[in-house]
């Protein structure tokens, strides 16, 4: 039989043992810590969108869909452009017909089940376009939820999807707060913008950046102090989407307002 003293001692020992995190058992290795600090990645791809410059021509979406073969006529796209029209009486009308693949060629705003909304010119308080794409978050929630390791963040900060590994469970599609993920109509696996990884790695810019006639889209390396995009992000007023989610997006915007979600 166990006496009371023995019982208390063992209880404390077991409770303490259970509470001990596994990390505490790892040996402290200063060489490893130094290596982590010194390795310091040289490239961190970031994107800059200037909403003042965007005219909603949609050439970026067209180029993206062709470059990345996201089935031209399917209603999915890695990037899209949203139109925001805020009226003087406080309504906000938003649309993105066909992801703006064919641009915005009419003043009528697609309100889905409510038909096309007409806003008279003198009723418009502000109108503008906001291009959207994957934010390549530093803390990507889509990666955390993947049960099979099919989506991941590369050393240079781009989130990729392994088409051979993806099982199509859709957790990442649900997990992304920005709604940038979808199922590829042909491959039936998760699909998303990857900053045209094949182009960046060749020293080119993304297809959408090359297609934009107005410089509303820019891509650069945040860790290069001489990079023009890194300079703008460091010195000018830029913001990100849904900062409160703690995802640390790496797509920066100029000219966002509270209407943009």
């Amino acid at each position: 039989m166990m006496n009371r003293r023995e019982f208390c001692k063992r209880t404390i020992l077991i409770a303490g043992g259970v509470a001990l995190p596994l990390a505490a058992l790892e040996l402290f290795d200063p060489r490893r810590l130094m290596a982590e600090k010194e390795r310091g990645e040289k490239v961190r791809w970031v994107f800059l969108v200037d909403t003042y410059k965007c005219v909603g021509c949609g050439f970026c979406v067209k180029a993206c869909k062709i470059e990345n073969e996201t089935t031209y006529d399917a209603n999915v796209s890695r990037t899209w452009v949203e139109r925001y029209v805020v009226t003087k009486d406080g309504r906000t009308l938003i649309d993105s017909p066909k992801a703006a693949r064919d641009g915005f060629t009419t003043a009528r705003i697609d309100q889905n089940a409510h038909g096309m909304a007409e806003v008279k010119e003198d009723e418009i308080a502000k109108g503008f376009f906001v291009p959207k794409l994957c934010n390549q978050c530093d803390n990507p929630p889509c990666v955390q939820v993947c049960p099979v390791g099919a989506t991941y963040s590369t050393a240079d900060g781009v989130v990729l999807v392994d088409r051979k590994w993806c099982i199509g469970c859709g957790y990442c599609v649900m997990g992304c707060p920005y709604g940038v993920r979808f199922f590829h109509p042909v491959y039936h696996v998760a699909e998303k913008c990857n900053f045209c990884y094949h182009r960046l790695k060749q020293g080119m810019k993304t297809a959408c950046v090359d297609a934009c006639p107005f410089g509303a889209r820019l891509v650069g390396n945040l860790l290069d102090p001489d990079d023009p995009v890194a300079k703008i992000i460091a010195t000018e007023r830029v913001s990100v989407l849904k900062e409160e989610y703690g995802t640390k997006p790496q797509v920066f915007y100029r000219g966002l307002t509270m209407e943009v979600k």
């Binding site: 909403t51 003042y52 470059e67 003043a107």
Partner: protein, 162 residues
């Protein structure tokens, strides 16, 4: 303890062993934790190369210069100079080998991407000269009156009227 208690445990251990062996055989050697750590960097490394091997379809306007210097200079010095050749003519991809792969898009909808007038003061769109596509010669091709490579080319509209 009696045998009937141990037997299911042996089966469970056997299943775990089968799982470990199958994982060892089926999971590629480059699958594991990489630069971004376990939370964000647990993946198959060779997939990075697979993505890098995707073919580049849009090769930028600079690729057009060797053969189409005249057209390139024409548009570069006009207000349309910032528009990439491939925006209107399609991706270069197989072009010199297969000339048919490029298009000459004369549709109104192409021009309307920028020139349908939208009075959105918060964007550059309001500053672009625009038309109402429903009232501005709805049956006509834009190119009948406007030269796309250089909209400022003098005499273009007069030629059409005569």
């Amino acid at each position: 303890m009696k045998n009937h208690v141990w037997r299911p445990l042996y089966i469970a251990l056997l299943l775990v062993a089968v799982g470990v062996v199958a994982g060892y055989i089926l999971v590629p050697a480059d699958f594991g934790v990489h630069e971004r750590g376990y939370m964000y960097g647990w993946y198959r490394k060779s997939n990075e190369q697979e993505w890098q091997a995707v073919s580049v379809k849009y090769r930028t306007g600079a690729s057009c210069i060797p053969c189409h210097r005249d057209k390139y200079d024409d548009i570069k010095n006009s207000p349309h100079g910032t528009i990439s050749c491939e925006n209107c003519h399609g991706p270069l991809l197989d072009h010199p080998k297969n000339p048919v792969s490029l298009e000459i898009n004369r549709s109104r909808s192409l021009c309307l991407r920028c020139h349908a007038r939208l009075p959105y003061n918060g964007s550059l769109r309001a500053a672009i000269r625009g038309i109402n596509p429903e009232t501005h010669h709805p049956q006509a091709e834009c190119m009948m009156c406007h030269y796309p490579h250089n909209p400022k080319r003098p005499g273009q509209k007069r030629e059409v009227r005569s």
